[in-house]
């Protein structure tokens, strides 16, 4: 459903991403891995319109969406999270997710000022759905807790809940397990595995936690120095000499 073709991005002469192509098919969990600075987050920014690509194209459902504004991508059903924890921190867990459902509610000013039964009904539905999303990621116990007082692991779950709240078809998570301990990462893995096929159609993941990547991915795309190194099934990636070299360096002669 998502196809990336020959993506390039230059920042003042530095090629952050060069000729990267890959595909995410419906029903798949694809992980984008690589050492720090490999260009994974830049790829995310290029796909979701937070930065325009220097060249190359992004296709969603066969439609060219290269350089569409971020909110347009979200309205099409491509919703991402951020590497740096990003939530609406003065709101509660419930309010965060309710806000995320914004695009599915009433957006007419006239009906905002003079709400009728249809608007009240839509608000009621939004609230129920938001509560269900909160339950789905396992934060029900924290429903009315302020986001500012959540633990690091709970914040990561909340980010996933916000992205899910927007009703994505393709969910793109940027290092959802960063800062989580092993146990929390496993919990997150369980949540993510359950999403594809039920709440979202496909999942694209940037992640450093290899345990999580190997456990949830159908396919892994490896990047290094802005280029795509290889791609394949998790078990074959683990054995790949180039990948091992990118992470650990060359074996001494």
């Amino acid at each position: 459903m998502l196809e990336v073709r020959g993506l390039h991005k230059n920042y003042a002469g530095i090629a952050a991403v060069q000729d990267v192509s890959f595909e995410v098919r419906s029903g798949e969990v694809v992980s984008l891995i690589g050492p720090n600075g490999a260009g994974k987050t830049t790829c995310f920014n290029l796909i979701t319109g937070f930065a325009p690509p220097s060249s190359g194209s992004v296709l969603f459902e066969g439609r060219d969406v290269t350089g569409c504004e971020p909110h347009v991508m979200a309205l099409l059903g491509v919703v991402r999270t951020f590497q740096k924890t990003s939530v609406l921190k003065n709101l509660t867990v419930f309010e965060n997710v309710l806000t995320a459902r914004h695009r599915l509610g009433n957006r007419s000013l006239w009906r905002t000022l003079l709400p009728g039964r249809a608007v009240r009904e839509s608000e009621r539905r939004l609230r129920e759905e938001a509560a269900r999303v909160v339950a789905l990621v396992g934060l029900s116990a924290r429903m009315n807790t302020g986001a500012a007082s959540l633990s690091c692991g709970e914040l990561r779950l909340l980010e996933v809940a916000i992205a899910l709240g927007a009703g994505p078809r393709l969910l793109m998570l940027d290092e959802p397990a960063a800062g989580l301990n092993t146990e929390e990462a496993l919990l997150l893995g369980d949540v993510l595995r359950g999403l594809v096929g039920t709440s979202v159609e496909a999942l694209l993941l940037v992640e450093h936690n290899m345990g999580l990547v190997m456990a949830v991915s159908d396919r892994v795309v490896v990047m290094n120095f802005g280029r795509k190194l290889t791609e394949g099934r998790p078990e074959s990636i683990r054995q790949n000499a180039e990948v091992v070299e990118a992470y650990l360096g060359k074996r001494a002669a």
């Binding site: 937070f50 909110h71 999270t81 951020f82 806000t99 914004h102 695009r103 905002t112 608007v119 927007a166």
Partner: protein, 314 residues
Amino acid sequence: MQFERRFLLIAMGLAALLPFVVRDEYLAHIGVLILFSVTLAASFNLIVGYIGEFPLGHTAFLGVGAYAAAILSTRAGAPIYLTIPIAGLLSAATGLLIGGITLRLRGPFFVIVTLCFAEVLRLVANNWVGLTNGPMGISGVPTPHWIASQPILGQKISFYYIGWVIAALSLYVCYRFVYSNLGRGGVAVRENRFVAQSIGIKPYRYALLTFVIAATLCGFAGGFYAHYISYVGPEVFGFPFTVSMIIMVLLGGKGTLVGPVVGPVVVVLLEEYLRDFQDLRLSIFGLIVMAVVLFLPAGLMGFVARRRETYAPA
């Protein structure tokens, strides 16, 4: 949500009954000032509290509204029930124009450029003598016959009720907007622009929508001001009005709906009370404001009434 709703209903209900108890010209005048200030504060708070930008040039809309009403009623003889709505519409158009340009900027840049717009409008009002009568201002903005024919107290109370209707309308619009799907979109922009975009909200569009609503309310207040004071000069674009809007909103609690009701009551009463201190008045006032900012950064109502929506399973 429930608290804010009840508070606003009770406050406006009591305000509607007040003239039956208080039969004093001076107090009625204070009441009119408070209602006028509530409208201004509610308008200012929409931008500061729910978009998170600081519009130092908010007097632009007060001024446009005031001049619109003054010119329409003195030149074209338009009645008050037309001049005030038209003042609001013209302010909305001005808001669309100024907001359309300035909301592409953020933080200090936005603050300075909005301030510049207000200053430019002040200079225009000062120099376009043909339209605005220049520094002399427009005096003799007519009071409607049904008000002018009453004794002074009756006149004040009539204006009090017009002010009440405008304030009530403003608070209603704010309440509906803030507690709606659109308002949540605005809050998302205030809290985190990147998250807002990632969930399908275009920050610029929401900021502009809020800005135009705020400008409209401010325009109503301006039109009302022109008729009540019956004089409009270039100083309506001046900085003192902005300062009092800032003080009232910060004191009451920005980002709350009850703040812009409590703030004006406290500020207007305090200003009147401190008249006894003559030259020291503004200094004492400044100290009180500093104390509030230091010790109650969320404002007087900030700790009781943040915008909240809780979920309880049905």
